[in-house]
């Protein structure tokens, strides 16, 4: 029998907004990796002494670095929000409603962010 096989385009993710959002969510991982590189550059500069740290600060103010970090921040936030939204569907705790799992994640996020900011800015 000659059934017709419906073709799948390599650009299937452009067909629907929800698919595009999925691909963007997956691409956020690239910016997570960029953050690791950026963090290690910072740590290395701090370890190299005050001069190197000043240089790093100056470099981080360059146009392209700023733009990259701005884009990366947007993607990292997309990652965080989508990650927390999906977490209650994987982590099912007996007798705890899903919304409570979600709230717990946001609470942990707020707490840790405040903690990190306090340690850095102290």
């Amino acid at each position: 029998m000659s059934a017709y096989r419906q073709p799948v385009s390599a650009f299937w993710w452009l067909r629907q907004w929800s698919y595009l959002l999925f691909v963007l969510r997956e691409l956020s991982s690239v910016f997570v990796a960029w953050f690791v590189v950026y963090l290690l550059l910072l740590v290395a500069a701090v370890g190299d002494g005050a001069r190197a740290y000043e240089d790093f600060l100056a470099w981080s103010g360059h146009g392209w670095v700023l733009v990259l970090n701005l884009v990366a921040t947007a993607f990292v936030l997309l990652h965080a929000v989508t990650w927390f939204a999906l977490a209650p569907r994987a982590i099912v705790v007996p007798r705890v409603p899903p919304w409570a799992v979600l709230v717990a994640h946001y609470a942990a996020w707020a707490l840790l962010s405040a903690g990190v900011a306090w340690v850095v800015l102290r």
């Binding site: 997570v32 963090l39 005050a50 977490a87 840790l112 990190v116 850095v120």
Partner: protein
Amino acid sequence: MSRRSPEPLVWLLFSGGGMAAALLVPVLLVLFGLAFPLGWLPAPDHAHLLALVGHPITKLVLFGLCALALFHWAHRFRYTLYDGLKLKQASTLIIVVCYGAALAGSAGAAAVLLMA
């Protein structure tokens, strides 16, 4: 029935990394990538950061964050290449490159953190 598929292990690393990245990366990136360079907040002085980075707990936390985040990237990026670009045929190569990069990156992170 031995099922020694590495899939559960890499998925756990992916998930751990996803969680660590979601919890910690936004604040660090906003501070060091935007707030300090743009002058929204005064950048911390060198001595404070050096003391911070020199502390073993900081080293451990940052190493965990870096390694997990890199494996998170490796796993997600692998599947993005499979699905987004229809590259499933090149699966072996993609696996070697992605997880290999994450391993190398973790080793690099350890070196940088130990020296700092």
